[in-house]
Amino acid sequence: METYKNLKDKILETYSVNSAFLNQTNFLTGIRDKAITHFDTLGFPHNKLEDWRHTKLTGVLENDYSICIEDSDGNVDVNKFFHCDITDLNTYTAVLLNGWFAYKNTPITKLADGTIIASLTHALKEFPEIVKKHYGKYCDIEKNAFEALNTAFALDGIFIYVPDNVIVDKPIQIISILNKKENILVQPRNLVIVGKNSQLKLVHCDDIFSHTPTLTNSLTEIFVDENASVDHYKMQNNDNHSALIATTYFHQKANSKLSSNTITLNGGFIRNNTNVAINGENCETNLYGIYLVDGNQIIDNHTFVDHIKPNSTSNEIFKGVIDNQAKAVFSGKILVRKDAQKTNAFQTNKNILLTDEATINTKPTLEIYADDVKCSHGATVGQLDHEALFYMRSRGISEDNAKMLLMYAFTDEVITKISIEPLREKICQLVNKRLKGELSICDQCVMHCGCDEAVVFNIDMSKI
């Protein structure tokens, strides 16, 4: 407990020392102060809290992190050292480097259709009214220590604004890159607003390459206005040294449609909190997830679907393949409030454990206060189907390949939901490679972190 206290103390001290700097933007002054107070009261989560019962933060919190406060000039050419290898994926790209929006020329890009992709810091200065209306409105800093912590320190992140009646012609891709030689704690903050009748496809890739332990505590709020549609893809392929707490809040208004896909291929420690508030009638919500973990990786998916208004449908499928000594946690909660009559809510979590030491703790929860609803939930934990394995082997397929095909087939249900075709093909390949044991984080990366030599970039690291 001593070390916990140390990181917490360090955080509190860092806040008070940097308070003036952090509170430069007037609008955030009150919010940050409130948030740090809540964080102080809550402290870091521990295993006695139901939401953290199966996921130990001890290992993550005992590292000594430096807390990124210094201002950054994000004017760097990310293309110099990073390329996305989904070559057919034609997107508008926004890069977060160590939590800062990295841009080539301008921190604010305005597309022809009026869509804005910008650094959150700059957006606060340029469009304070839009930001204020939504910033911090969907997360809960009183209850969640990490959200309070992010809110207290968040300096930058991605801001996306899609005006009403706009169908964004290409997906917007957020790439979060973390690359530092020291242990760092970074806290990006993203805000996405999708206007009435608009459509957005958002691909969020986390690529964390680190030589030393890092902790990312990201918080993303996504507002989906009436009759709007959002396709959200979260791709996680992180280094084993890294820890990531990724919290996403979706807020849906009437007649809106949301599809969120969380695909975890690798990750040292990952906790995904995916929260959806269905605050309007006739909404459709689909939450899909795949997690493939091995070694000593830990993946924890917490989802919360809150049916506030009637006549909406939510559907959730999370599937995991857990190998070696890896640990997985799934906790899915569906809340159907009293007013949310005629709700359809379905949830499944299916897991395959490949070894005796691999673990999954799964907890599907339904909490229903309305009396005219159709809801179901369920979880399965199993091994690969022996009948199918024998069938395949009897056709000459080796045991390893048969297992691979079965695992691949297991994930297929979720992969087929991906509506961006090049992305789906790439994920197919990645999952295939991953299941063959061929994909490590290094395959993806041009930086070669795996080697002992320090990485040399053609950019001025002091500026980041």
């Binding site: 199918a388 069938y391 082997r393 397929i397 087939a409 249900e413």
Partner: protein
């Protein structure tokens, strides 16, 4: 090709096969008939190498090699094929992918280069004709949502793709209508050569109208109790299995 001597097989401690003997030579078709629960399917699964089947006694030599030394996939690559009574559904694995993996593993075992995508598709098109398989079937998951007939056709299609030396068809006729039965049987006949052999397990003489066997064996209580030519099948169809049971009882007393 196949020589089974005094085979005894147990599942979970229960004796299913009890002193089974059979010799199969290249070019032959053997039919194994018999009432339910006499060990016909167990025999088929034991030859294919299913786990949990404990061989307590006896031997199976295939092309002179001890079959028990081989994993199921090796048996397949060595030319043994089992047509399943209940083909397994594998959601998410396409027939194309499944067969491509299988064919290329067979080729690798023989020291051949893997087939190119187009060569493989050509082979598939060619073999699909053997069982009048519809084109769209190949893009579907293995056996998922297939009708009984489609599943059995798919088994024969796989057999055509893998060109085994010894095929064991376990009640391939069960659940088939007359048309499907004819198609499946024709498929088998097209694949018959002087170099390969078939063991056809069936309850009914009906299938043997289409696939003419060289030998008919009656299996009872885990072993062959009567063997004969194809006329034995007619006799069984007419009289049922009771007369054989009676014969056995008389013998024992």
């Amino acid at each position: 090709m196949l020589s089974i001597k005094n085979l005894k097989v147990s599942i979970n401690g229960k004796k299913i096969i009890n002193g089974f003997n059979l010799e199969v030579k290249a070019g032959e078709v053997h039919a194994i008939m018999g009432p339910n629960g006499t060990g016909k399917s167990t025999l088929a699964s034991a030859i294919a190498g299913k786990e949990n089947y404990v061989i307590t006694e006896g031997s199976i030599l295939y092309k002179g090699k001890n079959l028990f030394d081989m994993a199921p996939e090796i048996r397949s690559r060595e030319g043994i094929f089992l047509g399943f009574q209940y083909p397994v559904e594998i959601p998410g694995v396409s027939i194309t992918n499944f067969m491509k993996t299988a064919v290329n593993e067979h080729r690798k075992y023989k020291g051949l280069e893997p087939l190119t995508g187009s060569a493989f598709l050509k082979l598939m098109e060619e073999k699909k004709k053997v069982v009048e398989l519809q084109a769209k079937l190949s893009n579907r998951s293995v056996n998922e949502g297939f009708s009984g007939g489609e599943k059995k056709k798919n088994e024969i299609f796989q057999m055509a793709m893998l060109e085994p030396s010894l095929a064991i068809l376990d009640e391939t006729d069960s659940g088939l209508d007359i048309d499907a039965l004819r198609i499946v049987a024709n498929g088998v006949n097209k694949l018959r050569t002087k170099d390969n052999a078939f063991i056809v397990i069936t309850h009914y003489q009906r299938l043997l109208d289409y696939i003419i066997p060289d030998f008919v064996h009656v299996m009872y209580d885990g072993r062959i109790v009567k063997s004969g030519g194809k006329e034995l099948a007619f006799e069984l169809e007419e009289k049922g299995y009771d007369w054989i049971k009676k014969e056995l009882e008389e013998k024992s007393t």
